[in-house]
């Protein structure tokens, strides 16, 4: 229990990092069960609002700054995500889910505009420009993929012109996040991946992770004195499989260990010299930074503070008994906090730094905090015409009820029947839906936007289901891989008034869904053209012949009268005559 408390403390400490300094960065490492390792990179840079408006960029990247100015965007949140967070074994999400997005790309922003049309045109400008900057297909976020959430998202920054701000939200669940998105992400950092913790970020390992999310958050913050700064926060969170990451890049195929090195369960009846039931590994695996990340940590980024808490840029969260060896030629400072479960290091500048954790038999472990909610969503039903969606949301807390907003953004070709919407709570007849916001889809113009405010009592499960109809698309609207199915964006669950709120909110996202739509035979148009043409030509030929030909009695037909057949027949007759002679 002490370690659980300390974790709560820890998250508060990590959240309150950086106030006032212009550039801070921090890496938090946390070994997770099943030899997984969570690495949370966080970079934060500030520029004053004044110099931002005059386009004098120092820590804020010029490319992104100009885009924001051009599109009149006051607050921006951009997410690139891949994989699934395994909440059952990994516990609560990093940053309480506030710095992660649904699978693919998710973008939401507060755009300043006088009316909705202007806001939407600026939103298009923004998505197109970001698409170029991050080499992602963000320009495909059009009206059908854009919604205007009402309850789910709250601005994180301090905005002076709140009535003219429009929140727009778009998702691209089909987008595959890859190295080409990481490179521009690193270029936005002042130290550019050449020094500091960003030197650990390598595309090969990042996109090989079990779960990873990259986020960019821009928000204005104003002090009490009226001095405003623009804060940009970039973060990369990933869960690495240590065994998988340690495989050398030139020999990545896993091979079974020699049998001598495997610990066998000798209690099994079939255990013998050539049969073995492997025991679970009880010891923590050995690893170091260079092995796991594929790169070495090249010292500190000198732009961070040299004194104080923000100077400690690498932290590792392990039980106090775990051995952590530091391997560096420079001078470093280690400090311990939160009951020794958090060890932080001030890195040397200009010298490589490495943490070495040997294999160790552990007696204690960290208690991972459990998530406030867990959610799973699936498509049920069969056939090409209809289906239904079922979402199961569980509140594991034995004592407190949870209130949340469930946001669903469905593509227009998936048409829900709202009258079939059912929300049931296990072992309770009450209706959990408190408030509904629904904006129906318009074919080819906009998608469905459904927001439900719900309340789920302690230790119970909520089941939400509704039926939908699959639309038939036009021939040209199918993508090249139409038979793969169409991605449906993850549902976003945002908790209302969570206990440990830091102004960012708490979020849980479901996985994305794959919706199979009826797909036509794509050679159909040509078949139709050819078939129709043949029928028309047949009809035409008949009518034309009836009109043009002369009809005579059958016995009146002239022998060998015309046509190819007659010609051939004539030739044969002549040949016969010649042969008969």
């Amino acid at each position: 229990m002490p370690s659980f408390l300390s974790l709560l403390l820890l998250s508060i400490i990590l959240a309150t990092v950086s106030a006032g300094s212009d550039y801070t960065e921090r890496l938090l490492l946390r070994p997770l069960p099943q030899s997984a390792l969570l690495a949370s990179f966080n970079f934060r840079s500030n520029d004053s609002q004044l110099s931002f408006e005059e386009q004098n960029f120092r820590y804020f990247p010029r490319s992104l700054g100009q885009i924001l100015q051009h599109a009149h965007t006051k607050e921006l949140h951009l997410r690139f995500s891949l994989g699934r967070w395994d909440a059952e074994s990994w516990g609560q999400r990093p940053w309480n889910g506030a710095r992660e997005g649904g699978t693919g790309v998710e973008l939401w922003a507060w755009v300043e505009a006088d009316d909705e049309d202007e806001a939407f045109s600026r939103w298009l400008t923004l998505t197109n420009a970001l698409s170029g900057l991050f080499c992602a297909s963000l320009n495909f976020i059009d009206a059908t993929k854009t919604i205007r959430p009402v309850m789910s998202f709250q601005p994180e920054g301090d905005h002076s012109n709140a009535p003219n701000l429009h929140l727009l939200h778009g998702t691209l669940p089909h987008e595959v996040v890859c190295t080409e998105n990481l490179t521009p992400f690193l270029k936005l950092l002042p130290c550019k991946g050449k020094a500091g913790i960003s030197s650990l970020l390598d595309g090969h390992k990042l996109f090989d992770a079990s779960w990873q999310t990259m986020s960019i958050d821009v928000r204005p913050t104003c002090g009490i004195d009226g001095h405003c700064t623009l804060e940009m926060e970039q973060s990369v969170d990933m869960v690495l499989d240590i065994d998988r990451s340690k495989r050398p890049r030139d020999n990545p195929i896993p091979r079974p260990l020699p049998i001598e090195e495997i610990k066998c369960d000798t209690s099994k009846g079939y255990n013998a010299g050539d049969t073995c039931y492997p025991l679970d590994k009880s010891s923590e695996p050995s690893w170091n930074l260079t092995e796991v990340f594929g790169r070495s940590l090249k010292g500190a980024c000198p732009l961070t503070d040299q004194e104080g808490e923000n100077a400690e840029t690498v932290c590792i969260n392990t039980p106090p008994e775990r051995t952590v060896d530091v391997n560096t030629t420079g001078s470093y400072i280690e400090s311990r906090a939160v009951g020794d479960t958090l060890r932080c290091y001030k890195l040397p500048t200009g010298h490589d730094f490495d943490l070495n954790l040997p294999s160790q038999q552990m007696t204690t472990g960290l208690v991972l905090p459990s998530p406030p909610l867990s959610a799973a969503r699936s498509i049920n039903g069969h056939g090409q015409e209809r289906g239904s969606i079922q979402t199961v949301i569980t509140n594991p807390s034995p004592t407190s009820a949870v209130e949340f907003v469930y946001l669903e953004s469905l593509p227009w070709f998936m048409k829900p029947y709202l009258h079939t919407l059912r929300a049931r709570i296990s072992a309770s007849p009450e209706n959990p839906v408190l408030e509904t916001y629904y904006r129906p889809a318009v074919d080819r113009l906009r998608g469905t936007h459904l927001e439900l405010r719900m309340r789920i009592p302690a230790a119970s499960t909520l089941t939400l289901s509704y039926d939908f109809e699959k639309a038939i698309l036009r021939y040209t609207e199918y993508p090249p891989d139409a038979n793969r199915g169409f991605d449906v964006a993850p549902a976003v669950i945002s908790l209302i008034d969570p206990a440990a709120s830091d102004g960012r909110g708490q979020y849980v996202r479901t996985t994305s869904l794959l919706l199979p739509l009826p797909t036509p035979d794509f050679s159909m148009p040509y078949n139709v053209i050819i078939l129709t043409s043949t029928v028309m030509a047949l009809g035409f030929g008949n009518i034309f012949n009836l009109l043009v030909r002369r009809f005579v009695g059958a016995e009146e037909v002239v022998a060998g009268g015309g046509g190819l057949g007659a010609l051939v027949r004539g030739k044969i007759d002549r040949l016969k005559g010649l042969l008969g002679k």
Binding site: F57, Q66, K187, C191, K192, A537, L547, G553, V558, G562
Partner: protein, 576 residues
């Protein structure tokens, strides 16, 4: 079924078809088969009418409708006019410059002086398209001011005053060498100092003062004339006024300058970037430096273009790996870059020098602070530390002043930035194509106005010509109405620009030429024109072939048979 031949052959010998007697006569002549009765004339004609009407419907209605409905739309363009513009047949740009003379002497004397000076000037001028016209400015106290007759007969009106290129002010002095002149650096004014006895006498046709003024004026506008002459000579089709011949080295110098200069745009984005291979210096006093060193220059350019300025700091910016690393030179006691490596100095792959958002080109100015270990860093051949990248921007290597300090300063103050800012100003001036002389900035700016107007005029005209060639060369591209509208607008504005040039309203000419250029580019780069380039007419036919083929075969066969029978009935075949 009978064939036309069969009908012809049988119709010749038989007289009556249905008579029972005739059948017995045929028994002996041919086989046991009965011949079909001869076809009545009216059914023959009916069949021909049917075939003809089918053909008519197909040819007159079907094919045109099919062709029309599947055709791509091509708006009508005034091709001949466009080609004429490109060939310079419509507009021969001329540059009549008004030069006002202000003389504190009697009216007749002043007029005489102006007349003799104009004569001298005309003798000097060998470039007919560009000529200077002297006008006598009203003396401040003269009555009847609007009726002053100027030498070439036109009347100097009030609204012409803003189009005066240069004011020549005659100042009578007693001391110093006379005549002498002084060009004011910040106003388009030439002060000429003279003594009273240098004024031409009413009877003489020349005087040292007149000759002097003429020579001075000629000298001031020499570079402008050279530029315009170069522009006219390089533009294809503009075969006008090639009387002024340029020496080879002048032409080479002008070419060098014109390849350096950026294309004209109403807005330029200036980006000042601080690059450092390490993390130092990470801050610079750029706002103040820009305010002090650059704002005055930008303000003076406002009449021609607008500017936006942005700055950035980029640390850990290393050279690209393909570039040859700097070498230490013992003689210079400095690290040196070879001149041929300068083109690879900018690491375009890693340094974030993306163009700014918004219309208009971006001019980049890069300030590079080398690592302490490689300082000072110079260009090997000439020991310089700044250079210009044509049509892109400029680079300045700032070697920290205190070389004996053991580390690069973490902060660049305004004074440390001064040399860099001066270099950037010079580079900006050349990138904008501002001429080197004369010394007066307003004069150089007005020269730039004229050169820009002329070059925009030529480039818009040649774009029109290129569009006309494209229209003719690719008959399968669609041309929407937007293009035709843009072309019309371009031609109209080109005409306005040309007229404005002729009337000496150069600012107006620049405005019109700017619009014309924009519209011409819009027409040429119309996006929907490229959509169907790769969908030729053959595809259209191929898709409809399953219909056209089976329909066409019976039509053609029936038509051929009928034609054959008609020719057969006119020239009857001799039966064997």
């Amino acid at each position: 079924m009978s064939t036309p031949e069969g009908v012809d052959a049988s119709s010749a010998p038989v007289t009556s078809s249905d008579g029972p007697g005739s059948s017995s006569t045929r028994h002996g002549a041919a086989t046991s088969r009965r011949q079909p009765p001869p076809e009545p004339k009216d059914s023959l004609w009916l069949r021909r009418a049917v075939i003809l009407s089918f053909w008519l419907v197909v040819v007159v209605l079907g094919l045109p409708v099919w062709w029309k409905t599947t055709a791509i739309y091509r708006a009508e363009l005034p091709l001949q006019t466009m080609t004429d513009w490109a060939d310079g047949k419509i507009c021969k740009p001329v540059f009549p410059l008004r030069i006002a003379v202000e003389a504190p002497i009697a009216q007749q004397d002043a007029q005489h002086l102006v007349r003799t000076t104009q004569h001298a000037l005309d003798d000097l001028n060998d470039f007919s398209a560009h000529h200077l016209r002297l006008m006598l400015l009203d003396p401040p106290l003269a009555p009847n001011a609007s009726q002053q007759v100027v030498p070439d007969g036109s009347i100097l009106e009030e609204n012409d005053k803003e189009n005066i290129a240069l004011l020549v002010r005659l100042v009578s002095v007693e001391t110093g060498t006379t005549p002498r002149s002084r060009l004011q650096p910040y106003s388009p004014t030439l002060d000429v100092y003279y003594t009273a006895n240098q004024l031409p006498s009413p009877s003489s046709t020349g005087s040292p003062l007149a000759t002097f003024i003429a020579h001075e004026l000629h000298k001031i506008f020499a570079e402008e004339q050279a530029r315009l002459a170069y522009l006219l000579s390089t533009t294809s089709g503009a075969r006008t006024a090639k009387s002024k011949s340029l020496s080879a080295e002048t032409a080479a110098e002008l070419e060098r300058q014109s390849t350096r200069a950026l294309k004209y745009a109403p807005t330029y984005h200036l980006t000042f970037s601080l690059f450092s291979p390490t993390y130092l210096p990470s801050a610079w006093e750029i706002e103040e430096a820009l305010q002090d060193y650059l704002s005055p220059l930008l303000d003076s350019f406002r009449s021609i273009s607008n500017f936006t300025v942005d700055t950035q700091v980029q640390l850990y910016s290393t050279f690209s790996p393909s570039m040859r690393q700097p070498e230490y030179d013992d003689v210079l006691k400095a690290w040196t870059l070879r001149k041929e490596d300068l083109s690879g100095f900018i690491n375009a792959a890693e340094w974030p020098l993306s163009p700014s958002i918004g219309a208009g080109p971006t001019v980049n100015f890069a300030l590079y602070v080398p690592d302490q270990a490689q300082s000072p860093l110079l260009v090997k051949e000439n020991g310089g530390n700044s250079w210009l990248v044509p049509q892109w921007g400029g680079i300045f290597i700032l070697n920290p002043a205190d070389a004996h300090e053991d580390s690069t300063p973490s902060f660049l103050a305004k004074d440390a930035l001064a040399p860099a800012m001066h270099a950037f100003s010079d580079q900006l001036v050349s990138l904008l194509g501002l001429p080197q002389s004369p010394a007066s900035l307003p004069l150089r700016l007005s020269t730039l106005t004229r050169v820009r107007a002329a070059s925009l005029l030529f480039s818009a005209s040649s774009t029109l010509g290129a569009l006309a060639r494209l229209y003719r060369a690719l008959p399968s591209i669609p041309v929407p109405d937007m293009v035709a509208q843009s072309v019309d607008l371009t031609a109209a504005h080109l005409q306005h620009a040309c007229d404005s040039l002729r009337e000496g309203r150069f600012q107006g000419a620049l405005e019109h030429a700017r619009i014309a250029e924009g519209e011409a580019e819009k027409a040429f780069f119309e996006r929907s024109m490229v959509g169907q380039v790769y969908f030729p007419d053959e595809h259209k036919v191929a898709v409809y072939l399953p219909l056209l083929g089976p329909v066409a075969v019976p039509l053609i066969m029936a038509g051929l048979k009928e034609l054959k029978s008609m020719t057969g009935s006119i020239f009857p075949k001799r039966s064997p």
